[in-house]
């Protein structure tokens, strides 16, 4: 059940290239929260009125050096709301609504290897997810793409915990080009293994990953983004087209039926 709390920023760290890690205390919220669920975070008295959606990046236990009962949000400054968030010092008050949305679903059996695909700030939900999967499934294969090396802020963390391949648009790190290229090569190589895909990133990347998975008959969960006003299902602002039974196209809410959706259900 979501709660609406006011809490203090504990840390707000500049990771470079406009990427930041926000930390706040929310032990009760964190207790029942699933990776790829999200928060609506607001800044009381600021120039923006609507809260912004952010995935949970770190849950208790994800980053072992972080204090007990805290959660972390990884965000990128892209506009007014994220710029205001980056201006907050420890002690500043924020309002947090969560946990919201559905979250990633585990593979059906312990032999299935999770394949993780992250595009830029779409890497945010994966630390909590990798921690949750740890030791219960084979080590994940991970594909992490971004505009340039500066944006691969979690590369070291992922490299210690997954079989990581990176890609950048400018060639400053990893493969030069789209992350979907090393992904499709790897999937073709790993034909004998049972695999399940999880992806988060910009929409064109998600569409491509969904297609690649579909062509190979692999299950693929996509964590989507949408403009949101409420985050809890009432404004109907955040919808995506989905295929319902009988191929009829309708709209589902990213905040409630998502943000994680099966790639096969999307009608984009």
């Amino acid at each position: 059940m979501p709660r609406d709390i006011t809490t203090a920023v504990l840390a707000n760290t500049d990771l470079g290239a406009g990427n930041w890690l926000l930390e706040f205390g929310a032990p009760e919220m964190a207790a029942g929260m699933r990776p790829a669920q999200f928060f609506m975070i607001g800044i009381p008295g600021s120039a923006t009125i609507l809260r912004r959606p952010y995935s949970v990046c770190g849950l208790p236990g994800t980053f072992d050096d972080r204090p007990h009962g805290t959660v972390q949000v990884l965000y990128k400054v892209v506009g007014q709301g994220t710029r205001l968030l980056a201006s907050l010092a420890p002690g500043a008050r924020i309002t947090v609504l969560g946990p919201l949305g559905n979250g990633f679903n585990e593979p059906d059996d312990a032999e299935t290897t999770p394949v993780l695909v992250a595009g830029g700030i779409g890497s945010a939900p994966f630390p909590a997810w990798i921690s949750k999967l740890k030791d219960r499934f084979p080590p994940p294969l991970m594909f992490y793409g971004a505009a340039g090396a500066d944006d691969l802020v979690l590369a070291d963390w992922f490299a210690e915990r997954t079989e990581l391949q990176t890609a950048t648009d400018d060639g400053s790190a990893g493969t030069h080009g789209l992350v979907t290229e090393p992904l499709s090569r790897a999937l073709d190589r790993e034909r004998d293994r049972k695999l399940k895909l999880y992806a988060c990133g910009p929409e064109p990347m998600l569409q491509a990953v969904g297609k690649i998975a579909g062509e190979r008959g692999l299950t693929c969960e996509l964590s989507l983004e949408a403009h949101m006003a409420c985050g809890f299902g009432v404004c109907l602002g955040c919808v995506v087209p989905v295929r319902r039974d009988g191929d009829e196209v309708g709209y589902d809410r990213v905040c409630l039926e998502g943000p994680v959706m099966d790639a096969r259900c999307l009608a984009w």
């Binding site: 059940m1 979501p2 609406d4 607001g42 120039a47 923006t48 009125i49 609507l50 809260r51 709301g81 309002t95 609504l97 949408a226 403009h227 949101m228 006003a229 409420c230 809890f232 299902g233 009432v234 404004c235 109907l236 602002g237 955040c238 919808v239 995506v240 087209p241 196209v249 309708g250 709209y251």
Partner: protein
């Protein structure tokens, strides 16, 4: 000091007796039940449902919303489950609560409005009907019902005949003189007027050089529209004799009181429900505190009091 006495917040809005003047606005409160995790529905005097049409509607393609200075634009496209599903799936649960369920109704033709109103008339647990007349009339080349006095008069009169429930007409602000459409609605049989619906506007994405919203324009709501909405409430209060329900950017007691002093007997909280799911209850509690602090025994004495010629 009489500060200890609990102020009387009850109001009568035409045929509706309400425990307090705070309602929630259509399209910002779902079908009410979505708010069960966040507030006690009984604490609200009532709420207005998402707009109901004869058949379910999927609404417009995304992006549907964007934040603007002190507000937001939306083009939800009146997505809703349809009146039959509302009566079958939502009303039975809602009847368990002591809160006035006001059904918001729209259609693309006069006949569609009438169809929804007569179905609601037969249902149990609906306190009133609110007509959303900010919809295009597909039989009249897409002209908005509420922007044309004659069409508004006709659709109001038809709905008046279709049900015995108290009839509220929700005025569109996208008109030259809102007093003209207000009078037309009253002459058509509206017992209460609510105002205002959203103002039409748009935002352009300068980087993409295209409109932000897929449908180009949308409805503006939130604090940005409050001064416009208060002024319209003020004018309509002077133009007609029926009670008014005011709305537009209310998120505090002071905001609500602006509308009440301008002539509204009750208010609706809209966009503020998105900012905090219990935004309406926050307004109600603040209002009670305000009355205590200002030694006002009954809220009713403030309705329209801003028009008084006596020195303040």
């Amino acid at each position: 000091m009489s500060g200890v006495v609990e102020p009387d917040l009850s109001v009568t809005v035409g045929p509706l007796a309400l425990e307090n003047p705070v309602l929630t606005a259509s399209g910002t409160f779902g079908y009410g039940l979505e708010f069960e995790p966040f507030l006690k529905l009984d604490e609200l005097a009532g709420f207005v449902t998402k707009g109901l049409s004869p058949r379910p509607r999927e609404g417009n393609p995304p992006p549907r919303i964007v934040e603007t200075p002190a507000g937001m634009l939306n083009t939800i496209g009146l997505q809703n489950i349809g009146v039959d599903a509302f009566i079958r799936d939502k009303l039975p649960r809602l009847r368990e609560y002591d809160t006035a369920v006001i059904a918001n109704v729209f259609g693309e033709t006069e006949a569609e409005y009438v169809e929804v109103c007569s179905k609601l008339d037969q249902a149990e647990g609906v306190a009133a009907i609110e007509l959303n007349v900010s919809c295009p009339n597909t039989e009249q080349g897409g002209m908005i019902f509420g922007n044309d006095a004659a069409a508004l008069h006709a659709v109001t009169a038809a709905c008046r005949k279709a049900s015995r429930l108290p009839l509220i007409v929700k005025l569109s602000p996208n008109v030259t003189d809102i007093r003209v459409t207000a009078r037309a609605a009253v002459e058509g049989g509206a017992e209460v007027l609510s105002l205002v619906n959203t103002f039409v506007g748009m935002q352009v994405d300068v980087e993409r050089r295209r409109p932000v919203l897929k449908k180009v324009c949308g409805g503006l709501s939130g604090p940005a529209i409050r001064p416009l909405a208060v002024w319209m409430t003020w004018q309509v209060h002077e133009a007609v004799d029926v009670p008014l329900i005011g709305m537009g950017g209310i998120s505090t007691a002071a905001d609500a009181l602006e509308f009440i002093l301008a002539g509204a007997s009750a208010v609706q909280v809209g966009t503020a429900n998105f900012v905090h799911p219990d935004g309406s209850i926050r307004v109600l509690r603040e209002l009670r505190e305000w009355l205590k602090e200002h030694d006002v025994a009954t809220l009713r004495e403030l309705i329209g009091a801003g028009h008084s010629k006596a020195p303040a």
